[in-house]
Amino acid sequence: MRLKVKDELFDEPSCEHNIKKKEKKGCKTASPGSSSGGCAFDGAYIVLNPIKDALHIVHGPINCLGDSYNQRTSESSGKDVYFKFGLATAMNENDLVFGSENKLKDGVIFAVNKFKPKGVFIYNTCVPALTGEDIEGVAKELTSMLGIPVVPVISQGFSGSKNLGNKIAGDALFNHVIGKKEPDIDILSDYNINLIGEYNIKGELLYIKKALSDNGINVLSTITGNSRMEEIMYSHKAGLNVVICSKALVYLARKMKEKYGLPFIEESFFGLSATNTSLMHIAENFHDDKLINRVKKYITARTKNTQNELEVYRRFLSGKKVLLYTGGVKSWSLLSALNDLGMHVVATGVKKSTEEDKDRIKEFDKNGNVIMLDNGNPVNLIKTIKEENIDILLAGGRNQYTALKSLIPFLDVNQERLFPYTSYEGIVNLGKLIYFELKSPLFDFLKSNFLKKAS
């Protein structure tokens, strides 16, 4: 049994909390009595769940899975897709008294017989972690018994936040999945990359893949949007890891670099300029003039087309004020996308951002005076919106009703977003949605008719 997560997972050189405290304890963002994000289990499940031909079995009482499964908006194609199924051992009082390692074993065997998956992930949660169940032992035994990888994910919620859980998931992939298989020679092209941290929310992966394949760049594996076990097993054979908008999974890329010599870059596909830069960076990493020239031409053509499509939205959105409140990396990657739309980002949330993220924010801040919001509680958000005369709040689902109840226009830019926002097609989607949300007379109509009379 291992109650503590590895110290290595807290080793985040670019995190300001580490620099200041001189001790590698990572970030504890939640304080008692606050409303917080998810726990380590939540974070691990989010990262691994899109692997579609694996089963994801949660070992613990019902709440960890039962209160919230089947809600992510990752999309996938193909037939043997298992992430529509929420599986849990749903420990009861008997299991506490007599132990439930055998129940877990029986459960995995039952589910593997029923679904015939290509792999199984077992998630540890708070209660079995405290009662000291050895899920690593169970996983090891089952791997040799069932002949498929059974991966223990040591993700009890009390270890830390969602972000830590992301890393724990990366660690599980690195230790138990990556490097376990070699790819067929005919699926490799001249330029093979992995996309890390892309979960195919609303089908975003399709847009990214299109831009890449138009240039002859082959996505060998995606970690983990719309992915299969096999592609992750041979992902070490790619020529480049591209980490997309994820600080947490840089950990995985770094480990892969150490072991397989696989270089990595951190990129974003939100917005026109970011997509262009990312494509260019990927091409440059292959040191191939033919590819670089092809990408240059491609970028010129797509940029022109996209700008034409955006023209009508840009004209309207130009100078409109935005408050962007979203997690770490997106605080600058979306900022860049909003710049493409000509919008003025007055404030951006930096609660989960690293020092490096903050530097990037400054880099993209056109006016040089963006407010970095450290305190994202709803009351503070509303205050900033009113004081700065902000036109629209772009944030995640948990702030949707903060905005709506105060009659403030809103767009979800986190995982509950309604359309894909990545790549060339995505920025047009984003521009269009913000355009219609801001153009809508509904908010003013309600303000003048409701608030007056209701008071």
């Binding site: 994000g37 613990g60 709440n63 749903a90 009890q156 009390f158 109840k405």
Partner: protein
């Protein structure tokens, strides 16, 4: 795999697409029906986050659930300091009138003495007038959402009864007039619209209902003149809950709350009436007869008309139910409610799946179904493996896959419903709600999707 190779139903070693949710989710829902309230979950941050996310998606409302955010040291050495500072932070920052605290699996299993922490907290909170605490033990590994809801209800009434015994509750509203005032306890399976319509029935009879909790005025989705609030923006006033002892009687509705009847009678000393459900013609008749006798008043014209409308709805829709079979995977209250209506239309109730419940409660409902079992939604897969023969599935959003696989329409009901708008505006009880149910289910059968 043939079903014969499977273990006996209900004995599966794991849940596949669970129907049940945890007790602290139910407890949180209870507290959310109290005005100016905040829920505090004592556990790791995920416990609160999962519940908050699901409730937010289901109700499309702000859900004020906070966490004590236990970390490794708290989990292993005990988290009473986390709990205390959580409560203090909430009082300082949000100033709610009520804080509903629940435990979680984590804080139950690490052997922490939450009871005495709560006792100390209550004394400390005494310094903040106008803040009240409620606490319920809600370990994830024992019971289901219905249990958490019921236990939170009972534990609050117990606390107040104790306060009453010590003469600490005084009746504030002395000019009560001659109107009857009744305490109404409803299950969380009622939609917000159900709560609001039921309230109106009481009001038509000239009765003032104290609904505990009131998920109608708190979660119906309304714009508050103050804009965004950090607490619940509606619900039953804490003062009204405190003064239930001075009211005329208790009315308990919903079979999952059957266990409350005796304790409520003893704790409040009031006459306590119980209705398993108030759906379908017969059951709604019984309910209106009861109100009529209670108030010595005739049934209002409005409801007499709705009664006639319901009978017409049965006639219009019954063709589409002829020879049809329904499968339901729902909480026990909705199974009970819905089967009352479908029985009257005479539609085949082939499969009923529900979560773990009291054998006594189960008895009545069990007989209505051809096959009845406790379990997960995936039981449908096993039960329909070679029989098929189901024309309509009624369950929550998580059953989507099974309806697609069987090629039959899914009528969404229960919890959670995250992929449909306005579920809280639906209404399935009393005369009008039963007619709605017959029409909506009938439409699903007409359209086949």
């Amino acid at each position: 795999m043939k079903p014969s190779n499977l273990k006996p139903l209900g004995l599966k070693p794991l849940e596949i697409n669970p129907l049940k949710a945890s007790p602290h989710l139910g407890a949180a829902l209870f507290y959310l029906g109290i005005k100016n309230a905040v829920v505090l979950m004592h556990g790791s941050q995920g416990c609160a986050s999962f519940d908050k996310v699901t409730l937010t998606k289901h109700f499309r409302e702000n859900i004020p659930i906070m966490t004590t955010a236990l970390d490794e040291s708290g989990a292993i050495l005990g988290g009473s300091e986390f709990l205390k500072s959580g409560v203090k932070n909430i009082i300082e920052k949000i100033k709610p009138e009520f804080i509903g605290i629940t435990s979680t699996g984590l804080t139950e299993v690490n052997g922490e003495d939450i009871g005495s922490s709560i006792k100390e907290l209550k004394q400390e909170v005494g310094q903040f007038p106008g803040v009240n605490l409620g606490y319920v033990s809600a370990p994830d590994y024992a019971g289901v959402m219905e249990d958490g809801y019921k236990n939170a209800m009972l534990s609050l009434i117990k606390d107040l009864a104790e306060k009453m015994r010590k003469n600490l509750i005084v009746l504030k509203d002395k000019n009560r007039g001659t109107n009857l005032k009744v305490n109404v306890f409803c299950p969380f399976s009622f939609t917000s619209m159900d709560f609001l319509e039921l309230r109106e029935v009481f009001e038509y009879f000239g009765i003032f209902p104290v609904m505990i909790p009131d998920l109608g005025t708190s979660l119906d989705g309304h714009l508050d003149k103050n804009g965004y609030l950090q607490t619940t923006s509606g619900g039953v006033e804490f003062n009204d809950i405190e003064s239930i002892f001075f009211n005329d009687c208790n009315i308990v509705i919903g079979c999952s709350l059957f266990g409350l009847v005796e304790p409520l009678k003893n704790l409040t000393g009031l006459k306590t009436y119980y209705f398993s459900n108030i759906s379908g013609l017969k059951n709604t008749d019984a309910f209106f007869d009861f109100l009529s006798k209670l108030t010595f008043a005739p049934v209002p014209e409005k409801y007499k008309r709705q009664r006639n409308q319901l009978m017409d709805a049965y006639l219009d829709s019954h063709f589409y139910f002829l020879g049809k079979n329904i499968a339901m995977a729902l909480g026990i209250d909705l199974l009970d409610e819905f089967s009352a209506v479908f029985n009257e239309i005479d539609c085949g109730l082939k499969i009923g799946i529900t979560t773990k419940t009291d054998q006594n409660i189960k008895k009545n409902i069990k007989n209505m179904f051809e096959i009845f079992d406790e379990g997960d939604i995936d039981l449908l897969d096993e039960l329909t493996f070679d029989t098929g023969g189901i024309d309509l599935l009624i369950s929550n959003s998580n059953a989507k896959y099974y309806a697609e696989k069987l090629g039959i329409p899914l009528f969404k009901a229960g919890f959670p419903i995250i992929d449909e708008l306005g579920h809280n505006f639906k209404h399935f009880i009393l005369y009008k709600g039963s007619a709605n149910l017959a029409y909506e289910a009938g439409n699903k059968l007409i359209n086949g999707v």
